[in-house]
Amino acid sequence: MNLLEVKHLKKYYATHKAVDDISFEIPQGSIFGLLGPNGAGKTTLLRMITGIFYPDEGSIVLNGHPFDPQRDTQLIGYMPEERGLYKKMKVGEQTLYLARLKGLSEKEATAKIKKWFDKFEINSWWNKRVDELSKGMQQKVQFISTIMHDPKLLILDEPFSGLDPINSNLIKQEIFNLAQQGTTIIFSTHRMEQVEEICDHIMLVNKGHKILDGSVKQIKQDFKQGLFRIGLGVMPNAAQMATYHFKIVEVHENAFTVKMNEDSTTNDILLHFIQQNIPVTYFEEILPSINEVFITQVQQTEKAPVTAAQQPA
């Protein structure tokens, strides 16, 4: 079942098209990566999904119903890229206030906040003012205030920026936990190594358009270039390498990166070495990283004629 279905969403500003006809679906419980260079329209898209902006055109279906920003705020938890808390407010009061604005009763909100504060071991911060906390500590508070009302759809815009590795890991674990419990997560970033690690599905946007989407596995398959790395016990001489089945792309110590011919199979490559009695120590397929896919795809769309000055969305 899809928790979120976005159809033909458009948002035009006076000078440019921030989001131009984007459609996608997110299955429940998946972690969905929204990728794109700065100014691609990610934030505008997220703001429409959170109900901050009204789309000019298109529809959003959330949890089986047409999205209603007023009714559905409790279903959504949104952590914007630019974090913000009331600096002079106490941590406990602040989270309680934000929870109550999400529609929780005071009792319910207090219980949930206590649970999360216990889990993150920050109970002693309850009476501290936000501006007494370090940036990383504020991030934790912000994260808790985003998830404390158990949203069905969690939208995290660059959730790891400004976090040290320990806290990053803590929040990453929490994201996995929440996804396992059925929370659907939209994760916007331009840090690709995190995308491969965390996301099931991704969508790449640039200049307001969707460039590609699909599961991480599928995209890697779609963009693979037939590259393999083969490790050899003895380095063969040039005569031993002559073959129809592959070309050498790169030579390493006791290994080659090769590009397979389109008609050939991996067994053809292996047989080539085995028949010459050259010991093969390992053999692996090289899939493109999402980073590579991202860069080539963005560069391709950049080559398209530029219509309007790029503005931060």
């Binding site: 000019d56 705020t73 949104y78 630019e82 974090r83 913000g84 009331y86 600096k87 604005l101």
Partner: protein, 436 residues
């Protein structure tokens, strides 16, 4: 509705719990009390007494200058002025009044010596005494009887009454009340208006706005802040009202019962300054009773809220245009502060001439009506302010704040999420008409 209530509560309590709120709320009535009590106490207790040596070479003034509270004259006609100048302080005199031989028709050369400045009250007291002594001497010489002249003197006050019932009025009290309430509204508009603006700026600059707006509508966030701050203002005025009326009732206790009685009998000379102060107080109390306080207070609350709502939403809109650079906002507030300042200027004219067309129109147009109408109302309804003017002013102010709140809401919801670039007022105006 529940959410806006939560926002109001937060805005209210974060402000009320601040120490500065407590200090301001308590200090204002104390300052008010000091303003009333200190002059009275000063009049009652007076300054320390001064002994003045009078060296009168003319003989005209000897024993003719009356001693009064705080000033005693000691006549030393034979003293040598030069030696006295050297040691008058040692002889416990505050100063020397030197009168040379003079021609009564052309007196000249009178001098007063003291260490340091003599002070305005002493200067005028001595000048008065000298002049009346000279007048008396001249009358004597001209053969005019002093007691006859006193009989001819007049000292009456016309009683100004207003309205059909001939209620006793007093232009001075109306002036005072009108000026004060007009001025309070002016302060409220500027002070609470900028408070709203700073609150909005804080939310925008600290980036909490986006988190908030994913939970509540921008309009709810803006109105919650405006109403919350209004509640703080009303609470403050309520506390001030209670404390000031308590002080008002306590003040008579500072004055002795005899002096109040003396004052009410008009017997002022007998008891001197004490009675004079009590008399002034009694007179104020008398006319204060003649004003329709119920109407005035409810109008005050109306114009306080109406004017506040009218302007604070505009201040909120300006706050939403702010960026990290606070100096931009200074320029943007200009178009809002100017009508407020024009309002206080018209108000100052209107307390003098509540019937002038400037005052009438100023009290009807919503940009200035909260201040100007409050200046006119104490002069009497429907005497000075006909009912139709009051009604029109009410209606326009209500319509006005609905309009400004609507327009400000449009600017606010776009501005609060707009970062990184300077927004001009012209651009913001376009957001008002933009749909969606």
């Amino acid at each position: 509705m529940n959410k806006i209530w939560l926002i109001i509560k937060r805005e209210f309590f974060t402000r009320v719990r601040k120490r500065s709120f407590l200090i301001v709320t308590l200090l204002v009535p104390v300052a008010f009390a000091a303003m009333i009590i200190i002059p009275i106490l000063m009049a009652v207790t007076g300054n320390e007494s001064k002994r003045i040596a009078v060296v009168d070479k003319s003989g005209i003034f000897t024993n003719k200058l009356p001693d009064k509270k705080g000033i005693y004259f000691k006549y030393l006609p034979e003293a040598n002025i030069d030696s006295l100048k050297r040691n008058y302080i040692a002889q416990d005199y505050s100063g020397i009044l030197y009168i040379p031989e003079i021609d009564i028709n052309r007196p000249a050369g009178l001098e007063y010596y003291s260490k340091g400045q003599a002070g305005i009250s002493l200067e005028s007291a001595i000048n008065n005494d000298i002049n009346s002594a000279i007048e008396r001497k001249r009358m004597e010489l001209a053969g005019i009887d002093k007691s006859k002249l006193d009989e001819l003197r007049s000292n009456i006050t016309v009683e100004f009454k207003s309205g059909d019932d001939g209620k006793k009025g007093n232009a001075w009290v109306a002036y005072g009340v009108g000026y004060a309430s007009g001025f309070i509204i002016y302060i409220v508009l500027l002070l609470f208006g900028t408070s709203v603006m700073r609150g909005v700026m804080e939310e925008k600059v600290s980036r909490i706005a986006e988190v908030m707006i994913s939970s509540v509508k921008p309009f709810q966030l803006m109105m919650g802040k405006i109403v919350g701050i209004a509640a703080v203002g009303l609470l403050q005025f309520l506390i001030w009202g209670v404390l000031i009326s308590a002080i008002y009732m306590i003040i008579p206790l500072f004055l002795s019962p005899e002096s109040i009685q003396a004052a009410s009998q008009g017997n002022m000379m007998a008891q001197g300054n004490n009675a004079e102060a009590a008399e002034a107080f009694r007179r104020v109390a008398d006319v204060v009773g003649s004003i329709n306080w119920g109407l005035l207070l409810s109008c005050f609350v109306f114009y306080f809220l109406g004017g506040y709502l009218f302007y604070s939403s505009l201040f909120a809109a300006i706050g939403s245009l702010a960026n990290e650079d606070a100096s931009d906002v200074q320029q943007l507030t200009f178009p809002i502060t100017v009508p407020i300042i024009i309002g206080i200027m018209i108000m100052m004219k209107a307390v003098h001439a509540p019937d002038s067309s400037l005052a009438v129109w100023g009290s009807i147009i919503p940009f200035t009506s909260p201040m100007v109408m409050m200046a006119r109302l104490p002069y009497g309804v429907p005497g000075t302010v006909p009912y139709w003017q009051l009604g029109l002013s009410f209606a326009l102010l209500i319509g006005g704040f609905i309009l400004t709140t609507w327009a400000a809401g449009k600017i606010y919801r776009t501005g609060i999420l707009m970062y990184g670039k300077k927004i001009t007022l012209k651009e913001a105006m376009k957001w008002i008409v933009k749909k969606g």
